[in-house]
Symmetry: C2
Subunit: 139 residues, 2 copies
């Protein structure tokens, strides 16, 4: 694994770790400090702009009592100062309407685009989408 | 609009025009000629690799009798040899279980990542996701 790919992998892992921790400060540090950042949460409309994107994460994290991600099938491509990560998010969340147990509740596929900045790779675009059907890769 | 942005806008428009036309050759010309292309159709699993991605489009186009896209809120960012487009796809399709009329049937938000190649901008990643809820941008 090249140094670039390793650094992008760490940045990508930090996104999910920050969400799991519900840590707004870490989430702020992950996102690029520019107004053209963009975020599409699963099933949501597009959210653009740093302040709006961070606010959306604050709302989501405030409403999530417990969440854990198991990332699978992660692939990282670096092209110059841009890196594209795709991965599957296998999500374990607290079940609020049952007996307080945990269950695998969702699968999301994500595209995360990072930019190389002087202080490291910062998140530019996050796009997560729900896997709704059992349609398999037709290949 | 810079020349780069105009060229990316044209490449992005061609993706939807090729789909509307059901034209496999045009779809092949749009995608980058590499095996790290990736595509997430709305609600689907991740599809990777040029041959698999093109096959998925062939299957979808063969099963689509009529489709028309109205793109809204398109934004284009060029960073070196990579361009990221986000847009809303407002989709009009043939209704097969009614009286053969047309109706607005879906809204999808998409992230399209292009790479600059000697022969122009080619599609590297397409990620479309269904807008499932009326959740508005919380800002």
């Amino acid at each position: 694994m090249s140094d670039d790919v390793a650094a992008v992998a760490a940045a990508n892992a930090e996104l999910y770790a920050a969400f799991e921790a519900g840590d707004v400060d870490r989430m702020e540090a992950i996102w690029d400090d520019s107004d053209d950042v963009q975020c599409i949460h699963p099933g949501w409309q597009l959210v653009r702009g740093r302040s709006r994107v961070l606010r959306s994460w604050s709302v989501i994290m405030a409403n999530t009592s417990y969440i854990q991600f198991f990332l699978t099938d992660e692939q990282i491509f670096v092209d110059g100062d841009v890196a594209v990560v795709t991965c599957e998010e296998n999500i374990l969340t607290a079940v609020t309407d049952a007996e307080g147990g945990l269950s695998p509740s969702a699968k999301v596929v994500s595209t995360n685009v990072f930019r190389r900045r002087p202080d490291g790779w910062r998140l530019w675009v996050h796009h997560g989408s729900p896997v709704l059907s059992p349609v398999e890769d037709p290949a």
